[in-house]
């Protein structure tokens, strides 16, 4: 039984994503602020939310991921406010899918989705080697 966590790079990747999204939304608000005064309030809220995500929520969320590969199932624990435990028996798993964005590729990371009938589990980015080993361990690849 091995327990895996997500790498620090995944946190950095999500921080960059959230930061870029925040910048985009901020820019949209600034563009409209001469027409709609309330856009300033929206921009402030977005700014505070982005800061909250970057420095409080994301580190805890990424650290909350505990992936345990057991004899017949994979157990994934995650969550900050709402904690969840996913158990997916290997017998029910149909296939695995990896998902790589250009930024993630640059950092050597890839996200993994485990697909079973009527359900799927998304795992945030892990290193390519970890993803390969993980898929190998759960029997999705030879």
């Amino acid at each position: 039984m091995t327990e895996n966590t997500l790498p620090k790079k995944a946190l950095l990747l999500w921080r960059i994503r959230i930061f870029l999204l925040g910048i985009f939304l901020f820019a949209v608000c600034l563009y409209f602020w001469t027409t709609f005064r309330w856009a300033v309030s929206v921009a402030t809220v977005i700014g505070l939310l982005v800061l909250f995500m970057l420095f409080w929520y994301l580190p805890r969320f990424i650290n909350s991921y505990k992936i345990t590969i057991q004899e017949s199932a994979v157990v994934i624990k995650s969550g900050v406010f709402i904690k969840s435990i996913h158990v997916m028996p290997f017998s029910r798993m149909i296939y695995t899918q990896t998902f790589t964005t250009p930024l993630a590729k640059k950092m050597g990371l890839t996200a993994v989705t485990l697909k079973a009938a009527r359900s799927r589990i998304f795992l945030p980015e892990m290193t390519k080697e970890d993803a390969k080993a993980f898929i190998h361990a759960i029997g999705g690849e030879k």
Partner: protein, 476 residues
């Protein structure tokens, strides 16, 4: 062994297709307008930019596609900026389907569908275009060579199935978007022209039947014809290949479809009969394959129309669960039980009579229309009543190593057979009359993504509990 397959160039068109009507056609129209009137809209430049962008993205996406087979795994790679890579064990593939439309046939391509039980409902898990040669090679690697045993169904049988299963509603769903899109493409109000023509014909017979009835009847008839033609051409050239573990179904005239699946991927078999099929004493047999299907169910027609005895004779060795095993549970055969089956037809009849009487008094000017509508509704209620009597005589459930159940569903007779292991849920429920009659209703649901289910009414309660307990080794 490693085999790599690439996308057919037609896949570029497949990616760009969703944008054809919103971008390419308006652009062509704008461009033609520029040539004839020397007038150009301000959007033309933006449209051209978007078309070029979409074309480049489609080419790159098509170029990045890979279908790789390594030993007993397949890998599907997609995307050039955002890349996805799916790895599937061959044993987890429930079915594969290839479709070839006339354009594909000319350019030697097929649309290939890979289905598993994990995909999104009503959509294939993976859909792509590859060359015909590659598709044949992939199919033989995934499912072995083509089975020898071949059953061919005549055009007449296919026509019977098309005529008895088509509905005006399906015709509308198919026909209306085609008329709308063709009208948009030609720049004429085709739908209005068609409706005016229908109105003209309707008014010719206005002396006998109300014009609105004529119009509705004509629309329904036209829609039915569209549905019939669609179904007929879809299933024309219907051929069934039965192998030891592989089943292959080929059909279609303009769009040729080929579906392959393992016998072990079949969740259940359905034997159905529409009201028109009941008149002709023919049945259709369908199989439900996990994850397959682009409609609301996972079923595929295996026998378009045949006698029940012939279906059983031909297929009971291939699908052994067609031959029921175990004790039969039926409703008690008594006049009172029969009246229970006729309860809802009677309620509908009384409601219709009351509503029609009230409406003809309240809306005197619409008397003919109300009478006509009431007659149609009465016809449907009579079919329902006849089917309820059939249900009383024929509904049953047999549980053992295999599960088979017969009942009715909507206006169809309906039978479901499967192996015991494929049953997902059995629900027993009891209503007011069930308590004093010591009966129950049972719903059997098959374990699947878009599960089939069957409901059997008025079964003997104690016997049902015993049979379920014995079959599934549970204390009920």
């Amino acid at each position: 062994m490693k085999k790599v397959y690439y996308a057919h160039p037609l896949m570029i068109l497949m990616f760009a297709k969703p944008f054809l009507f919103v971008l390419v056609i308006p652009f062509i129209r704008g461009f033609l307008q520029y040539i004839t009137d020397k007038r150009v809209t301000s959007l033309l430049g933006i449209e051209l930019f978007l078309i070029i962008t979409i074309a480049i993205v489609s080419v790159l996406k098509s170029h990045a596609f890979r279908f790789i087979i390594v030993d007993d795994n397949i890998t599907i790679r997609k995307g050039f900026l955002i890349k996805t890579k799916a790895k599937i064990k061959l044993s987890q593939i429930s079915s594969i389907q290839s479709e070839q439309n006339p354009l594909d046939a000319v350019l030697g391509a097929v649309t290939y569908h890979i289905n598993t039980e994990a995909g999104r409902k009503n959509k294939p898990d993976f859909k792509f275009k590859i060359s015909l040669k590659d598709s044949r090679e992939i199919s033989s690697i995934l499912y072995g060579t083509q089975p020898n045993e071949r059953v061919r169904f005549s055009a007449l049988r296919v026509a019977i199935m098309a005529a008895t299963t088509s509905s005006a509603f399906t015709g509308m769903v198919i026909g209306v978007p085609i008329i709308k899109k063709t009208g948009d493409l030609l720049g004429i109000a085709l739908d209005k022209m068609l409706f005016d023509e229908i109105n003209n014909v309707s008014n010719k017979y206005a002396d006998f039947i109300p014009p609105v009835v004529n119009t509705v009847t004509l629309i329904l008839l036209l829609s039915y014809v569209v549905a019939f033609l669609y179904s007929f051409f879809k299933y024309m050239n219907f051929r069934l290949f039965l192998g030891e573990d592989k089943t292959e179904i080929r059909s279609g005239l303009f769009v040729r479809s080929r579906l392959s699946f393992r016998k072990s991927s079949v969740n259940n078999v359905r034997i159905e009969q529409t009201p028109l099929m009941q008149l002709l004493r023919r049945y259709a047999m369908k199989v439900s394959v996990g994850g397959y299907g682009d409609s609301k169910s996972e079923s595929q027609v295996v026998v378009p129309a045949d006698r029940k005895s012939e279906i059983f004779e031909s297929f009971n060795t291939y699908f052994p669960y067609l031959k029921p095993k175990g004790n039969e549970v039926t409703p008690p055969r008594s006049a009172f039980t029969e009246s229970r089956f006729l309860f809802w037809p009677m309620v509908w009849f009384l409601t219709l009579t009351g509503l029609a009487t009230w409406a003809s008094i309240r809306f005197v000017n619409f008397g003919r229309l109300i009478l006509f509508t009431a007659f149609i509704a009465l016809g449907i209620i009579l079919i329902y009543a006849r089917l309820s009597i059939y249900e009383y005589h024929s509904c049953k459930m047999q549980l053992g190593k295999t599960v088979s159940a017969y009942s009715t569903r909507w206006l169809r007779t309906y039978g479901l057979c499967c192996v015991k292991e494929n049953v997902g849920e059995i629900k027993i429920s009891r209503f007011f009359r069930d308590f004093d009659q010591n009966t129950c209703r049972v719903r059997i649901t098959v374990r699947s993504e878009a599960a089939d289910s069957i409901r059997i009414r008025c079964l003997d309660y104690k016997k049902t509990l015993k049979e379920i307990g014995d079959a599934f080794n549970v204390q009920v």
